[in-house]
Symmetry: D2
Subunit: 367 residues, 4 copies
């Protein structure tokens, strides 16, 4: 029996499962990535003459997520502790007796899971960077339309000195660019092949050449030293996604604060959204609120990933490696969802220069 | 369209979705808890003569999770930002025109969501405490069978002085008892009723009496001051579940360390589990590993909940309240799953007194 | 050479080292607590006839922090990894040859360090609870003076419905009471005595009786099972202090938000404080800001403590135990400093009912 | 009165205050960095003809940490909430009436504090990268001497397949290189100048040119958009230092695990260190233990910094900015201390090929 009985078993999916990431981090997406890694390994080994081309072709044909029972693999992962172990007998059966011996040749499950993880992260990084890029374009439009509107700067919650709305949009643009750049850069984790001992000797003399081809086929950088027990890659991904989430959380907070009834300089204008169960007159900035709520998940998940990265035993961690997966998937999803909600909020944003002017003039008369 | 297309959309469900908690924290369970809170409110108001008994009866009959479209409610929660807003029109329609006015009377959505949260936590607390209690019974059996086996104590990784296996089982028993006690105690969060301003005046003169009856019907303590913007309850729950997870993580680590091939004093004995993709001779303590991996999720989630608890604006938080839900559901699930895996590990545990004796004698000869 | 060359080597001492905690968590305070634990052990053993009364008297006389070189002990702790190891030869020398054998009899350093930790936590808990209690009295005064002032409730940053300032003060009172109660309750960690193996057998037949007397002399509960490798006590302390910090952070945020120039319903009135380097007209709520800044340190420190509590190896942790100390001392200091700053902020608080009324009437005319 | 009465007021200084970082993050170092930023600002403005060269010279002469009362500045920071506010009147007095008007011209305190922070981080980054580089050289020596020693690989705590000690040293070298690179790259945070509103207009037409010169004088990159309220720089620093700490924690754990008496393949060989209060025969790997304990502080501090980065209000945060300082200083110190302890551990490391061979042969005979 699958652990959850309902297709929408996460009651708070609206907060952490919006945008492109859920599709890229589903069971299906992960199993597909595992299959891509197995296929890339066989192809790389064929390139180097380690396995016959026909074997690599047979493996490539078998590495099709449509041909495996994703739900069963996810469930049986409990027995061996990762997604590769229940996949291998199925894959060998699909490949057939002649070439079954070429499947997973020289590899250990961590070679494949780590490469699949890098693929998933890479795809999510590009997808979320694109959402952030779209948001930056919306902000550029806000800046073009309203950037010259005079308003009061607020520091420590107090009225400081006059500025314009461009100070806000410049800050948002800068943050979105930094966040997208971090995701794009850090979401290209190097992949390696270590085999059961991590030293790669199970891949024979062609080890380094196979690693290079394996990485090239996956579109990722190669590392000659397999990182089964050296998790700086995990830490780098964690840091970049944490950075992106903090940028999003901050912009969401700016929207919430400028949308306060006592300030009223922006509002989320969306028919049907932002209502209240008891106060129909309210216009809550629900997209910015959701962006903040999602983004606030990130720092704790980053801490989990950093702890896991530093807690692994010798050549392969007994728990700390496994602990990376839910935290990482959660971080990708929460940050991606936060990015999507921020995009929605910015798209809904109505700027009120008259209110800005009124607040500014009230501020000036106090001097 | 639901955010995820597959019934097992969490590829790492085996780590964080085992045991009794997934069923108690599903969309269905949360919507059911929301409905229970609405029914309890109407019943409490009927008890105090605020609404007619017939209205409370009609509401009770409507508050049946079988009668609402859980998936639609979860999806539409995105519009208003919580589960109650999309539920109310459905509930009023089910109740019918005559008594629709008695639904949610005086309440704001946070009254209901917070009470539903307390119900969910309470049920999870009891269920996970029961799993821990069962584990304690397994440990008691290990202690009875093998507690007098001499072994070497290990401090800072070094051989210290001789002891017996009872030192290990006593420590585990003590931890499990503390963890279960923390869950039982802290998972009874007080419930209150504040209404739209949080001061309860929307409930009229009967406010305090209604709160008492509301809480009694839900089987939880009452708080006269609604805690929409005072989140010590969230922090208390977080602390208790974090404590339980840390106890589990530690016991899981003990198993992993004693099961090292270099130590070999315990093993997980389970046909079919613990295999390796490349090394069939290995017997990995996969249940303890999974317990650790799940439990390692907790500290970061606790930090998220504490940050959220301290970051809410005035009478209701614009994001920090919403941020509690995924972190809390995640904490309940990860800790519950860790408890279940630890139970599995302890149930599988084979203790090897001969190896203990051999390690001890090797230790003694070094003096 | 001492690691820091200056008496005020923490440039941000104003944020995390205010209030009563620095004095209670200094090197001197910790070494004094270690000495108290050694004295209590000898006295408990004398009570049970394990050591002669004269030995306990000699040890009590030697266990005077004025008689040891605190700075040298702190520095030499680096050699053995804890504060007890460099203290013992000094203590034995002070006691003299006749009774030196009765010093630390049967104990291991963790027995003493853990007891000293419990003493330090207990004292800090009482001291910070007292600061919170004083704050509650200030809030009660604000409620008495201004509680009936009408104001608008603000939910999700939006004007909700009218309420009075009592909603704010009731929330603060409730939070402060919960925080103080948590500190008082959880800061009484049980103490035990395990000896080198943790099983207590080094204390002989009187083990349990000595533990009871030891705990009674320290004014703390006793645990029959020493908790060298069972850290639920650490987790419980972490949770309670995290709860207190989250309450403080929230009240500090309320002050900041109500003190916004755009709201202006409260202000910190303090000659000389709250100035700006560039804007002399500003009146920043610097005490509330400092309270928030200090309190925001807590969730991360709690996560560190929970991770440490769950990461310790077997009978004594190789790093995770040691990791508790800076995180715990940091948590006590940050939370205590946050409490002190909040006290200052509340003491400075000027409430402006006229501004509340003006904001309320502006809110009403929008309906 | 300074908050702490003793020069070594941190009882756990041995864990978090070793190595080069304490000196680079002391009160004196921070105040010196603030003075450097003020001097660089005046010089940059002189370069652009905004202030007379004589003014810049006078300011440069005054910006000497020997000429100010560091302890008083640190103490008075409590009044205004940062280190710049109490410094300015002192600096203006030192500069003299003629040029006092050129001090801090156009700037707000955050311009200066943020630049000083970048300076401190930059220096710490280089210093800790150097420690890591030295450690890498030690590891290279171990690899040269003992890398070909056969040993058993251990995955999930179980014996896997034969490898050599080079697998361990290659992993350590790779991690140390990644950590040093991260610190070097990410510790060059861009500096900007925003003035009281953050938009830089207080610096007049020369704003961008002054920013470029200001940054060049500080040896750091420039950002045209001041980042008072855009804290991706903080998040980037946090991520890089968290990465470095996780690498250190992992290597420390490897040492602890290989040094277990049950494994015995490495040991810390250091006369006088690693003793026990109760067990003189023990040889605890106290440097690796201390490295782990220090490094375990990092993930929680990173989470605090990410939360702070995402929680700041509008143009300047009311608490979240201030919260960065203790967390950042703590992260620099803990990570730097962990690096220093790891260096000590690696320098002490004795490798035992005979024990490796014995463990390996025991492993082989089980097949």
């Amino acid at each position: 029996m699958s652990p959850s009985s309902s297709p929408s078993d996460d009651p708070f999916a609206f907060l952490t499962l919006t945008g492109p990431v859920p599709r890229l981090t589903s069971s299906r997406a992960w199993v597909a990535a595992v299959l891509e890694a197995e296929a890339a390994l066989a192809a790389a080994q064929a390139d180097e003459g380690v396995v016959p081309p026909a074997a690599a072709d047979a493996i490539a044909a078998a590495c099709d997520v449509e041909r495996v029972d994703v739900a069963a693999i996810v469930e049986e992962a409990a027995l061996g502790g990762n997604l590769v172990i229940p996949l291998l007998p199925r894959l060998r059966a699909l490949v057939g007796d002649e070439h079954a011996g070429a499947v997973h040749l020289g590899a250990t499950s961590q070679d494949i899971v780590d490469a699949a993880t890098a693929l998933v992260v890479h795809r999510c990084g590009d997808a979320v960077a694109a959402v952030l890029g779209d948001s930056a374009r919306i902000v550029a439009g806000l800046a073009a339309d309203r950037g010259d509107a005079p308003m009061i700067a607020r520091t420590l919650g107090q009225h400081a000195v006059p500025t314009t709305f461009a100070t806000v949009t410049d800050r948002w643009s800068d943050g979105l660019a930094e966040a997208a750049a971090a995701l794009t850069t850090a979401s290209r984790s190097p992949v390696g092949l270590g085999g059961p001992s991590g030293d790669g000797r199970s891949f024979g003399a062609a080890h380094h050449a196979v690693v290079e081809r394996f990485a090239a086929r996956l579109g990722l950088p190669a590392t000659p030293v397999a990182r089964h027990g050296q998790r700086s890659g995990t830490a780098a991904v964690a840091g970049a996604w944490g950075l992106a989430a903090s940028v999003i959380a901050k912009i969401g907070l700016d929207v919430v604060l400028l949308a306060q009834d006592d300030v009223g300089e922006v509002a989320e204008a969306a028919p049907g959204a932002g209502g209240s169960s008891s106060m129909p007159h309210k216009r809550n900035p629900v997209a910015a609120i959701s962006a903040r709520a999602a983004a606030m998940q990130a720092p704790g998940l980053v801490a989990t990933l950093l702890h896991a990265a530093g807690s692994g035993e010798l050549e392969r961690a007994a728990g700390a490696w496994h602990a990376e997966w839910p935290a990482l998937n959660g971080l990708l999803r929460a940050t991606g969802s936060a990015a999507q909600w921020l995009h929605t909020s910015l798209g809904r944003l109505a700027v009120d220069p008259a209110r800005m002017a009124a607040n500014l003039s009230r501020s000036q008369e106090h001097r």
